[in-house]
Symmetry: C2
Subunit: 373 residues, 2 copies
């Protein structure tokens, strides 16, 4: 049944699960490539399938502004518009309002902001962002919340939590469980205060959401801080529902999340870095523009079976990147997305066989030095 | 045998032929998508195959400057570098030297120019550009020539012809017929003077090239002038060898060329216009950014079976274009390239069945009004 979440194996706190959505089953742990405005940048749906994508993410804020959620609804929804027939999760737009748009005004009713495209004024309320997500027709919707900036103090964060929790309650009320076959996930906030994370988990997890997210991480804190908060917060979320760590992260961050029982992840790193020429391989990060690859006839990652690695040399990829050729962005993105999807697939395999610790250790060996710099 | 050109049907002066190259047979009339620096912009080899490409063009000037023809040679040649295993034609670089680079100095030996990338100084001689094309390993090479600017007078054009013919003779001497399995085509110039076109055709066609090109058209003249020169020049080229109209053109120009017995064409229009949102359809040109397509759920061209038209709506293509999404360039390019390839394929079919005139008339009906504006 839509919304069912079954756990088929565990390894420590890590779990192997299946989430049933209106557009199919998502095997977890799952990585969700980010398709901001109806396309994972430079990729078409066939590329996503070929890379092994199960579920992708769409950005409510961006789609609301352009082309507009009502226009998308008239096209039959986001799946049909972009021709992706697998599951889609949409965020609430809150994070983008706080990070991208100008002139925000926060009231108990919602948040007023100006479009980063044309400066026009808009209001997001908990109900409004659900209307938008219903227009988009996503399989998993997220509630509106306030993502407090890194460094916010205890008093501010506590006050913000009251708002976030009130909005969560209004969201659940607005969208009853099972409506339209669209799941609704709550978001636990609380900044970097463990007592507030506990308070938030208790409040949010009492509202009968189909899943729970950890928000407000990867906002400028150190890796140690993030891991500390993650380790404290993840176990607070009910084990029988999916857990989603929003906007995280680097390969090691994702593995850290999985180790603490997180099931779903999204991040722009693989796609954004692909466009910057930073590529993830089984030997660590590769900056493809470096001169050392000028005459390198090896595939980017001999261990990878993506279209890019099966067909092209590092020398060719470097040439395309240096010449700013459009094909560079696509070939790099195909590879990076595949790397993150393979990372999650490998984690599922490892959990199934009770060897997640060994699996994670291998990546720590590869990525620790690069990520420490 | 490599270099063989057989004609299987004619319809008026139009012909249906087959050119044998080291990387396969090219059925003519053929359109060659332009892959400037080792990629047809935004497309991968699979996209080109899917669109029906038989042969593509590479630009000697660009590849020489970046990544360098010697680097490409060390990679095993251009086919292997870019993973295109079909035929490739390379131009001589002359046209780009005259149109793109700065500080040209023309001497009997060759042409000195500065790179448009870094201002560095280079010399192209007839022999040098053949060395480059041998490094690239193209199936059809072109001789170095001077493409005189539109408006050049009779005296200048005549003087230029002497240089172009001397270079052609040196080229043939440098590259004997059959060498490396790489064909060499001569280029007929002569500006917009019929007597000089005759003089050039006589000189160039006496040099035993495997094919002949008409250069120096589509350089700023009116369509009427181009068609007049084309009608005069094409019949001057020996009928038993392939004829190539360089850098031309719009759909109607290509059909005009075919009508006068031309076999091969290349042009940046389908790829460049794709990136500008100008798309070719069986109903004429479509400017996909226009507001009228905002909510248009039809495919771009219902008569087209390319990946783009099989999967996406005009509304989605417009959205991608307006949002400047990378996927826009690829989907538009896939369609436009397919349109030009289908145009040539349809012409082959029409010639085979003796109804080329009817075929051409249909396109004149569609494109005449749009192209007159």
């Amino acid at each position: 049944m839509i919304g069912d979440f079954s756990i088929h194996a565990t390894d420590g706190q890590a779990r192997l699960g299946e989430l049933h959505t209106a557009h199919g089953i998502v095997r977890t742990p799952a990585f969700m490539p980010v398709g901001t405005v109806g396309t994972v940048k430079s990729l078409c749906p066939q590329d996503l399938r070929d890379a092994g994508s199960q579920i992708i993410l769409g950005n409510t804020y961006h789609l609301y502004l352009r082309p507009g959620d009502e226009l998308v609804a008239r096209r039959g929804g986001l799946h049909r518009f972009m021709r992706w027939d697998g599951p889609i999760l949409t965020d609430s737009g809150g994070f983008q309002v706080f990070s991208l748009s100008g002139l925000r005004k926060l009231t108990p009713d919602g948040v007023e902001f100006r479009s980063h495209i044309d400066g026009s004024k808009h209001l997001f309320t908990p109900e409004k962002v659900l209307d938008i997500q219903r227009n988009l027709g996503s399989d998993v919707m997220m509630v509106l919340d306030e993502c407090v900036p890194y460094g916010a103090d205890h008093a501010y964060t506590l006050k913000s939590l009251d708002l976030t929790h009130a909005w969560a309650a209004r969201s659940r009320e607005n969208h009853a469980p099972g409506r339209n076959g669209q799941l609704l996930f709550g978001i636990v906030q609380g900044g970097f205060f463990k007592d507030l994370r506990e308070r938030s988990a208790e409040a949010v997890c009492s509202m009968d959401f189909e899943g729970h997210a950890i928000g407000g991480l990867s906002v400028g804190e150190s890796t140690a801080e993030m891991y500390d908060l993650l380790a404290h917060t993840a176990p607070l979320l009910p084990a029988h529902k999916p857990r989603y760590l929003m906007g995280v992260g680097k390969p090691l961050d994702i593995l850290e999340g999985i180790e603490h029982g997180v099931d779903m992840f999204d991040c722009v790193l693989p796609t954004r870095n692909a466009r910057n020429g930073t590529l993830y391989t089984s030997q660590g990060q590769v900056n493809i523009k470096r001169a050392q690859y000028r005459e390198d006839d090896e595939p980017l990652d001999p261990a990878c079976s993506c279209y890019t690695c099966r067909n092209f040399s590092r020398a060719y990829l470097r040439h395309l990147y240096v010449a700013k050729e459009l094909l560079s962005y696509r070939l790099n993105t195909i590879h990076n997305v595949r790397f993150f999807l393979d990372l999650a697939a490998g984690a599922r395999e490892a959990v199934a066989h009770g060897r997640f610790e060994v699996y994670k250790a291998r990546f720590r060996e590869i990525f620790q030095p690069a990520e420490a710099t």
